[in-house]
């Protein structure tokens, strides 16, 4: 299995944001292994968590994602971030 990274995106919460993010990954053929999205306490914003491949293209992925108008901030985490690990039980039953 290739190395993974986790991206945490703060985005504008409105219909279409998910399409913009997923569309970008699809058309630039970047692998997206997992995605989680929920509104934040301030409903104007949402958080999107992405589980992605950590390869030499990751930096370009982040730069392209950053250009999306609805994406306000991106933080990169190591793949061991607990968000996807804690959810594993929901996906392995």
């Amino acid at each position: 299995m290739s190395k993974r990274a986790v991206l945490e995106l703060k985005v504008r919460n409105h219909p279409g944001t998910m399409s913009h993010v997923c569309g970008l990954f699809a058309r630039r053929s970047y692998n997206m292994e997992g995605i989680l999205c929920m509104p934040m306490a301030d409903k104007k914003f949402s958080k999107i968590w992405l589980l992605v491949d950590e390869d030499k293209r990751l930096e370009q992925v982040i730069l392209q994602t950053n250009k999306l108008i609805d994406v306000l901030a991106i933080t990169e985490h190591a793949a061991s971030h607990e968000i996807f690990e804690k959810l594993e039980c929901f996906f392995n039953s």
Partner: protein, 556 residues
């Protein structure tokens, strides 16, 4: 003040300074067309929505301002797609506004319902499906701001019909959307560039359309002169340098001269200014500028390192960067390198045959340029005629050149030339087209005639899809497939039938005199010029090869 959504849209466009809109009405945008009747905005009815997108591009490319096109839902919106995708690849600020079926019918496969949001998403800088009338107050100014900020690009707004019909009470107007301030270079950036230029023996500028977008052409030429640095330009940036400037080596890449290819092999510093290292420019990128350190200056951070890893990069406004360098760097003379460049330029120059016959594309282009003079905007379609124009046309001012680069869209030329004729009626709008390309949007002759535009079409008629024929000749053993070389259309007669003036140099007793007369005929003019079908564009770098492995001319 109570107004409808449609009136609100038109009012917001007026406040953006929009004076002309190209488009076509249909069921889903009728309220907007009704509201247009009360506006001073001039509407230009197209005969195919693709042209609405290209007219907007034509306006935007010559003015640098954002331009607007309108289309209805369904087939009207899909017709826009090609022109919007074209604007995306060439970074042109176009705002496309489409009507959509009423909100309540979304998702029901209603008449002329199509997922315009989904279709526009991958080919725009940003796009919207408007969900409420209040949103318009935010979305429309923001769309202009996005289209114009940083690296420009198209924005699409899809507006359901019920929102156009809804009423709203407006107390206060939002500010019009404008370009956001650009990132500035740091003094450390400038110092580093200065130091790298000073320690280079053979620096070379690679000039891209980012320089035009930054309105920094003048500064760029000035810096080249001050530091005695030669320049190659990308296809889109051809008009940055006056054509005959001694430091201008012209276009690099697939149809660039051998001089550019040798000079790029030899240079030890490449300064990429507003470029994206497109494959048509660099050839096989791993062999591009093998000896050079690379400075990359671009406003789009994602372009830095995307294809060519720079030695040093500045993600900031190219205009400010150039101005600071101009201030900081003393003038320089690079006697050896300068002489080498002049030698290469002279040795590998593209030669215009002395016979002057108009069936030779270079002779034709030179003579048209001479007759038309400098007060022109020059457009092409896509094919050999486009590359010949790019190679030799004597441009003399930024934004004089308008052609589909990144997407290479046949059919671009006529509507784009209409756009520039509408935007700058005081200049002649000149279009070099091909017998293949012109047919793609030929219906717009009717539009051009309706507005009595100062538009001259020079049709390089080689009776074939020439660039395809060229590739088949060179790379497919001369097996010609589907190149339409039986084309017998009487283009001059077509033009006349559509109300334009048509000339045909095939039957002219004195072609030179007819050309002169045609270019001096007011209004919309089409001039059919027979070109030898065996003419090819040389040099040519085979697709995928390194620029140094170019084919100089046909081996017979």
């Amino acid at each position: 003040m109570k107004i409808s959504g449609a009136q609100l849209i038109i009012k917001l466009l007026e406040r953006q300074g929009i004076t002309q809109i190209a488009g076509m009405p249909g069921g889903a945008n009728l309220p907007m067309y009704d509201a247009l009747l009360d506006s001073d905005i001039k509407h230009v009815l197209v005969r195919h929505e693709q042209s609405a997108g290209f007219i907007a591009q034509g306006i935007a490319r010559v003015t640098g301002k954002a331009a607007v096109c309108f289309a209805s839902s369904g087939p009207a919106a899909t017709n826009l797609i090609t022109a919007i995708a074209d604007a995306k690849l060439d970074s042109i600020p176009v705002v496309a506004i489409t009507g959509q079926v009423p909100s309540a019918m979304l998702g029901t496969d209603a008449f002329q319902e199509i997922d315009t949001f989904g279709l526009m998403l991958p080919i725009t800088k940003h796009n919207y499906l408007v969900h409420s009338i209040e949103e318009l107050l935010e979305v429309i100014p923001e769309a202009f701001s996005i289209a114009l900020s940083g690296r420009p690009g198209p924005v699409a707004i899809d507006i359901p019909k019920d929102i156009q019909n809804q009423m709203i009470d407006i107390q206060q107007w939002p500010e019009p959307g404008t370009a956001a301030p650009l990132a500035q270079p740091s003094s450390a950036d400038i110092k580093q560039i200065k130091q790298m230029i000073e320690s280079a023996q053979r620096p070379m500028l690679m000039v891209g359309a980012g320089v035009i977008n930054a309105d920094a052409s003048e500064q760029l030429v000035q810096l080249a002169e001050q530091l005695d640095i030669p320049a190659v330009t990308t296809f889109l940036a051809l008009s940055v340098f006056p054509h005959s400037h001694p430091l201008n080596m012209g276009m690099l890449g697939m149809h660039g001269t051998k001089a550019t290819s040798i000079a790029l092999e030899e240079c030890d510093l490449l300064i990429g200014a507003g470029v994206r290292f497109d494959d048509r420019a660099t050839g096989k990128i791993s062999e591009f500028c093998p000896q050079a350190s690379v400075i990359h200056i671009d406003i789009d951070k994602s372009e830095i390192g995307k294809l060519k890893i720079p030695t040093f990069a500045v993600n900031a406004d190219i205009g400010s960067t150039l101005r600071e360098l101009l201030q900081l760097m003393p003038s320089d003379n690079r006697i050896e390198w300068h002489a080498r460049i002049q030698y290469l330029k002279a040795k590998h120059a593209i030669i215009t045959p002395a016979h002057g016959r108009l069936s030779n594309p270079y002779c034709l282009l030179q003579q048209v340029a001479e007759i038309a003079g400098e007060n022109t905007n020059v457009h092409t379609d896509v094919g050999q005629h486009q590359m010949w124009t790019a190679q030799v046309y004597p441009f003399n001012r930024p934004r004089q050149w308008s052609s589909s680069g990144g997407l290479g869209t046949m059919g671009y030329g006529l509507p784009a030339a209409i756009g520039s004729a509408l935007a700058e009626p005081e200049r002649m709008s000149l279009l070099f087209s091909g017998d293949g390309s012109i047919l793609i949007n030929i219906q717009e002759l009717d539009t051009a005639v309706e507005h009595n535009l100062n538009l001259k079409i020079v049709l390089l008629n080689n009776r074939s899809l020439g660039l395809v024929r060229q590739q088949q000749t060179l790379f497919f053993k001369g097996n010609l497939s589907a190149i339409n070389n039986r084309n017998a259309v009487n283009y001059a007669a077509v033009a006349q039938a559509m109300g334009a003036s048509g000339f045909d140099l095939a039957t002219a007793a004195d072609p030179q005199a007819t050309l002169q007369q045609a270019l001096n005929t007011p209004g919309v003019v089409l001039i059919n010029v027979p070109i030898d079908e065996n003419e090819m564009v040389f040099p040519m770098v085979p697709p995928g090869a390194a620029n140094k492995d170019l084919i100089e001319q046909q081996a017979c």
